[in-house]
């Protein structure tokens, strides 16, 4: 050991059959350097993560380096695997929403939406979903796109040392989460989009809050552009880093901002609209350099488009006051149970009065839906949505029972992360971080 051996946090070294292995704990680079100096070999394999602040989550990177150049980059994933898909096979179709919302935790509404759209297709009720539920879904998804892109930009900034980008990104994201809390009762993991509609109507005053938020965002979003767009340090780190052209994207299955940064305007909201996206006026954002900078600019531009959609949703919702948010079919519609009381969210007293005092049928429906749930006709469906990271789709399989026979999620983070090697091999080690941040993987979605 070296002179720092009395330091309990110093690098330790062990001999293995595959060479000498150093466990690095920070501020101990000297002992590593002096350790390898004896080997007369510049090739080092660095195991980065899974607990590393710059790997964008619990992602493990296995990097083979020559000096500071990355010759091979591989990902190790699975550290956040929780078996959500398997768990869903033992819950009712409605409870499935509660599980899948936790996968890609930065875009919960998209997880819910793609699953619910698949279930609705199997139930053959796609055209019976009330208009207000559709509009609320679109609005929540677009607000969610803003909050997700804010985190992408914020953490991407933090990882290259642009801390102000991080603080302002999380500042605005907090406002979106406040809106989610107001509308769904929860800041994350909402389980709000349900087969047949959404769980609750809009609370009083929510539309005004959203209008205020949109107005505020229109003042705040230019700050990001002022801070970053022409910032020479920011551009020096991002431009030409993580290059991947159109053929590469399609071969590796990349979608979302990475695909659009090649200039190809592919967006499922336009090309295969769902939830009534064809009724909204918005543009598909593209960029002409397929690099980290292009993807940053696309995310920035997409937040403006999302604000546009949110404004149109608010306008439509203002004219839909009191309209139903759940399908009329009593065999599917989850009974509204919750209401805001003087002591917070709790059982809806009106609903309890209705089922206990007024309607035996309502009581039966409530009981059967909550204990047994509904049966979904056998078959399989795949209805992908354009999540902030690309094509997110749920392959939903039913055998005609009360539980999903199989639910598999094609998560864009999982697929896009495969591009790590192509994007970072041959570049500098510092650029690996930027390339991965430009993919914006969310490990909860990767590992499920």
């Amino acid at each position: 050991m070296t002179a720092t051996s009395n330091d309990p946090y110093a690098a330790t070294e062990t001999e293995t059959t595959q060479g000498r292995v150093f466990t690095v704990t920070g501020q101990d680079w000297d002992s590593v350097v002096s350790g390898i100096a004896e080997e007369h070999d510049d090739k080092v394999v660095v195991n980065m993560g899974p607990q590393h602040p710059s790997t964008h989550g619990v992602l493990r990177l296995i990097l083979e380096l020559e000096g500071e150049t990355v010759t091979e980059a591989r990902c190790g994933i699975g550290y956040l695997h929780t078996g959500i898909e398997k768990n869903m096979e033992y819950r009712s179709w409605v409870q499935g929403v509660t599980f899948c919302t936790r996968m890609d935790y930065l875009s919960p509404f998209y997880n819910e939406a793609t699953y619910v759209l698949g279930v609705e297709r199997l139930l053959d009720i796609e055209d019976q979903i009330p208009e207000k539920a559709q509009v609320m879904r679109v609005m929540l998804m677009e607000l969610n796109r803003i909050s997700s892109h804010l985190v992408a930009i914020a953490t991407g900034g933090m990882e290259i040392g642009a801390l102000t980008v991080m603080t302002i990104g999380f500042r605005e994201r907090e406002l979106v989460l406040d809106l989610f809390e107001l509308i769904t009762g929860l800041r994350m993991n909402h389980a709000f989009i349900r087969p047949g509609g959404v769980a609750q109507d809009m609370p009083a005053g929510a539309l005004d809050e959203i209008r205020d938020f949109v107005a505020l965002m229109k003042k705040r979003l230019p700050e990001y552009a002022d801070l970053c767009n022409a910032n020479p340090i920011f551009k020096a780190r991002l431009v030409d880093v993580g290059h991947l052209d159109l053929a590469g994207c399609l071969a590796l299955g990349l979608t979302g901002p990475v695909l659009r940064s090649t200039g190809y305007p592919w967006d499922l909201r336009k090309s295969q609209p769902y939830s009534g996206y064809e009724d909204y006026d918005f543009e598909v954002c593209t960029w002409d350099t397929p690099d980290a900078y292009g993807r940053f600019r696309i995310r920035l531009a997409e937040m403006w488009e999302s604000l546009k959609i949110v404004e149109q949703c608010v306008e439509r919702l203002a004219g839909l006051e009191g309209a139903p948010v759940m399908i009329g079919d009593k065999k599917i519609a989850w009974p509204s149970q919750l209401a805001i009381g003087s002591d917070g969210m709790g059982n809806s007293l009106d609903h309890i009065r209705h089922i206990m005092g007024e309607s035996m049928e309502a009581l039966i429906h409530h009981f059967k839906l909550v204990t047994e749930g509904f049966r979904v006709p056998a078959g399989q469906a795949y209805v992908p949505v354009e999540s902030p990271r690309g094509e997110l789709g749920a392959h939903v399989v039913s055998d005609g029972g009360t539980k999903p026979y199989r639910a598999h999620f094609r998560d864009p983070s999982f697929t896009n992360l495969q591009a790590t090697s192509v994007m970072s091999e041959g570049g500098m080690i510092a650029d690996v971080i930027v390339a991965i941040a430009s993919i914006d993987p969310v490990m909860g979605g990767v590992d499920r």
Binding site: I77, G78, H81, G83, E85, K86, Y90, R121, L122, D124, E126, L246, A247, G248, L250, A251, L252, G253, L254, T255, Y264, P265, W266, K270, S271, Q272, P273, E278, T371, E372, G373, A378, G379, Q380, A381, Y382, P384, E391, G393, H395, V397, D399, G400, G401, T402, K403, Y405, R406, H408, R410, F414, T415, L417, Q418, D447, R448
Partner: protein
């Protein structure tokens, strides 16, 4: 990965398409020929419990578990174009037997491909002018223990950006011989998806560059998303009682 990656979709074609809003599900809902049902099992009782005395009176209930079976053409809309193009291309290559059956259900089309012909079909789906399925969305496994002789299904979702169409391929393998060729050479994106399907279902994708576990730890025994994978119960500290595993609990089935 010996093949060239799929050519990108033609941008001018994308622009020419009317507003790019063709919804694949719109014009085919009512179309399509007669559909058969395929029985793969039987549901007993109401609550899944077989051993305990079921006093509900539902114990004798027997219901078949049936999946949508093969459809007969015409399938409706663009689906006939795709099916026709596949039929022509497979005939040209002398592999007419590649497509086992076609299922159209809820506006989605599924081609069952015999596993020995999967690679040839994948390649022509990607490269044929009339097909051009450039993007493989993913590979997903499904385990049907009751579907004797073809228990393991690998499901591929393909997207043609040029024509704005989606199709699904389904390839089956028996539990005793869980081999399916890997489509990695044609669709490099299948790499991780096939590893995941191997990890969870034990389907061995022959020809995959490095078929190792991806989500579970390397030394994990078994394949957790198979239906016969043993689930754990929960020990409770009351006279040695346990809470049974989820698949043995009494619950609606």
């Amino acid at each position: 990965m010996t093949d060239e990656p799929g050519k990108g979709p033609d941008k001018t074609q994308l622009e020419q398409r009317e507003g790019g809003t063709q919804d694949p599900s719109l014009d085919v809902v009512a179309a399509g020929g007669a559909q058969t049902r395929e029985v793969i099992g039987e549901r007993q009782g109401m609550f899944g419990a077989h051993d305990s005395g079921d006093t509900s009176g539902y114990g004798g209930l027997r219901r078949p578990v049936e999946l949508p079976g093969a459809s007969t053409p015409p399938y409706g809309g663009w689906m006939d174009d795709v099916a026709g193009a596949i039929a022509t291309a497979t005939r040209d290559q002398g592999i007419e037997a590649a497509v086992e059956k076609v299922i159209v259900h809820r506006g989605e089309i599924t081609f069952f491909i015999r596993r020995e012909h999967l690679l040839a079909v994948a390649k022509l789906l990607r490269d044929d002018e009339a097909l051009r399925f450039e993007l493989l969305s993913g590979v997903s496994g499904v385990h049907y223990p009751g579907d004797t002789g073809r228990e393991l299904h690998a499901v591929y979702h393909l997207l043609s950006m040029t024509h704005n169409r989606r199709i699904r391929l389904e390839v089956t393998a028996p539990d005793g011989d869980p081999h399916i060729p890997s489509v990695c050479a044609t669709y490099p994106t299948a790499d991780w998806h096939e590893r995941e399907t191997f990890d969870f279902f034990g389907i061995i994708f022959d020809g995959h560059p490095a078929l190792t576990r991806i989500e579970m730890p390397d030394d994990w025994p078994g394949h957790p998303q198979r239906k016969d994978y043993p689930l754990g119960g929960i020990p409770v500290e009351y006279k040695g009682g346990t809470i049974p595993p989820p698949d043995q609990r009494r619950s609606y089935n």
